[in-house]
Symmetry: C2
Subunit: 426 residues, 2 copies
């Protein structure tokens, strides 16, 4: 990103300063007709400059080839003004479109703002490329109806049926401080500083209206979302996501990822649902088990990623044959219990990241997998899959789910639209 | 890294299994004569495969061109056996040399170990290159003498005079859980998974003898240590480390970084001292200030990094001239107070990283700079510099030091030597 000097002249007539008085300093610099003038109709393929499209029928960051790094944030919304919320979404849309294109968060940017105004960008991504940044927004159940039942923004009647809090799964050990949230934004990029910069500037613009409930840095992707990508390894040392839905599989994407407008609420057509789970890995007991046991638990070869009994990573699972001491693939093997074969054909699109966050307070690293899944209906895809895993998975001895959240992900903004505009359209 | 199959045959005569009973499973796979057979005399320049040298007069990871990512760990040592501590250092040396060369942590690796033994490597860096991994060890004051005064390992008489706990600086807000430690290991690499993998495998090998006191992931470097590198930006959006000591400046490195054996304790000759400070950035108030104020506080142009009143990043500081409303560079500007000119010629080698660790619990991102400095004598370099900054720096309104530690960094291991062998030589 380089500073641009094309800041729109401030026009008192269109200044949104008054409206944003409570939304924070960052929003100010976006003002001056920026919304009307800067939203382009542009959409389409990855740019020559390493930028991903921002507009289109679907948000980027879902079937986009998984970038290397993640910064994810969940916000609590404090304003109770529908107008202010919509203004924030409009501001965020302008900023997000700019940042994904490799520009600063707002015109004028990090070296703008003048003597008295703060700069419109925090500056740590100056000189950095777009790095395939995608920003993807989702709305939690509590945005529609608070836990007290309040419809703060007049959108309760538009709450999709599938957007309910996830049920309590066996062995869940959820920390409320790492769960839930009214709005989520997922930033993925190949440079972590670009992802962190984007979230930080969006949080800044929301100051007063929203606050950071929790955030998660993911240092390395654990899934591929394109057939052109190699399968990365999780912190158990296994290739993860071999059977993930790939963006090239249009039928599966259409069937399992994108919400059809006829599914439920028309405003969500072209959108999806995001399920986030912070999965703590108990790496100490895992590291004390033998390769044999690890491969039994997962159901795959650690070396090649091939299903047990097969040769190559992408060979089919053999769930029927017997092995030397029982089924070739254990009845409690993770790969079996998560398989479409076991689940009546259910699939999800995974997009998780490895994390490590200091010490667990007991002398070990606090490490694990920040699981992200996109699905067309979490109640009929993620929930039955997770029930099956939570009850039976041999891996449960080595993991603990400590955070959880679900969000409805609106469709991509069309020309002139803002994030979530279909939800608020009257 | 790819699995290697050259595991040394296990010889009962040289097996260190018994010795490592208390040190943990990971250490087992290193046994079998590995120490004698695998330590090569190799040292020198960066390899064609992106590997950094492990052996030599100085440890790598100090003047090595700063890699992009960091994982840093501080351990508490629980064993009180000198023999066990030395054995752990020997094991770590073998593992560290292997991993920095792009090999797995131990022969046999992630797909070794057999039916009953755990694998010798956790596997998440399989398929990944060396990524310029460096591993750098340091010994804290409490390794020599516990806070209760105990000399657990017979090394109290070898404690360097300069290795004392840092004094309390004005405004310090230190969290004991993020401070101190008996042993530190810094892992730097261009791939975060490679750095995390290295720390995780070393922690694993130490299980029972040491535990993780705290650890810190740094997602982006904030300093350059080579004239060939561009200057990165910190989370205040400013280029950071413009005047850092560069490895090409042999005089400065020799004068300010490497301990001379005649300085104090001969065993530390060729070593250095590492000072770590977790600096929380109060990004919310910072983001509300004007560019003018930000530049006054830092003393540089945010855009170019040039000192105020100058044109180019590497132009000299003009600490004498007057500006429009006072000194050109404010008397409280960070760049002035940290300058060699103000400090009687003192310099340090910085090697810090940006971090972000979730929410601060008050609705903002928990973000900042994990400051790492190497110096020949922290008491005469870092301490006076930090006193000057802590008392006077205009930046103090926007930062808080919440973690602190100091370590003596032994020289690089020579052929056949282990990390810290000069300390334990009798």
């Amino acid at each position: 990103m380089s500073p641009d000097h094309d800041r729109a002249p401030r026009s008192p007539a269109v200044s949104r300063r008054g409206l944003f008085g409570a939304v924070g300093a960052g929003a100010l610099a976006v003002g001056g007709g920026a919304l009307a003038g800067r939203i382009s109709a542009g959409a389409g393929a990855t740019g020559h400059d390493g930028s991903e499209p921002f507009r289109g029928p679907h948000q980027s960051g879902i079937i986009t080839p998984a970038q290397d790094r993640l910064h994810f944030v969940a916000f609590d919304v404090h304003t109770e003004s529908r107008t202010e919320l919509i203004e924030l979404l409009e501001t965020w849309t302008v900023m997000a479109e700019r940042m994904t294109a490799g520009q600063e968060a707002s015109p004028g940017g990090a070296v703008g703002g003048g003597t008295h105004q703060p700069p419109g960008d925090t500056g740590e991504a100056l000189d950095l490329p777009a790095a395939h940044l995608t920003l993807t927004i989702g709305f939690g159940p509590t945005l529609f109806t608070t836990s007290g039942g309040a419809d703060r923004f007049g959108i309760a009647p538009r709450k999709p049926r599938a957007l309910t809090e996830l049920p309590r799964f066996t062995r869940d050990a959820l920390d409320p401080a790492r769960s839930g949230g009214d709005i989520a934004i997922q930033a993925c990029a190949d440079d972590p500083q670009v992802a962190v910069h984007a979230i930080r500037n969006l949080a800044r613009a929301g100051f007063g209206a929203v606050s950071v409930r929790w955030s998660q840095l993911g240092f390395g992707r654990t899934s591929s979302t394109s057939a052109a990508q190699t399968t990365p390894r999780n912190l158990f040392g296994f290739k993860d996501g071999t059977r993930n839905i790939k963006s090239e599989d249009h039928d599966a994407v259409s069937r399992f990822v994108w919400v059809d407008p006829r599914d439920d609420q028309a405003w969500l057509g072209g959108g999806s649902y995001l399920v986030a789970r912070r999965i703590q890995m108990l790496i100490e007991p895992w590291d004390r088990t033998s390769l044999h046991e690890q491969q039994r638990v997962i159901g795959r070869s650690k070396s090649t990623g091939a299903p047990l009994g097969a040769t190559h990573e992408f060979d089919e699972l053999d769930l029927q044959s017997a092995g030397p001491t029982g089924p070739l693939i254990d009845t409690a093997a993770h790969v079996r219990l998560a398989s479409a074969e076991e689940l009546g054909g259910i699939q999800i699109l995974r997009r998780g990241y490895n994390f490590t966050d200091g010490s667990d307070g007991f002398g070990h690293l606090d490490a694990g997998l920040f699981f992200i899944a996109y699905c067309r209906n979490p109640q009929t895809q993620f929930v039955p899959m997770q029930h099956n895993l939570a009850r039976n998975d041999a891996l449960n001895e080595y993991i603990e789910h400590v955070g959880s959240a679900v969000f409805a992900v609106p469709p991509g903004p069309g020309p002139g639209e803002y994030w979530g505009s279909t939800l608020f359209a009257t």
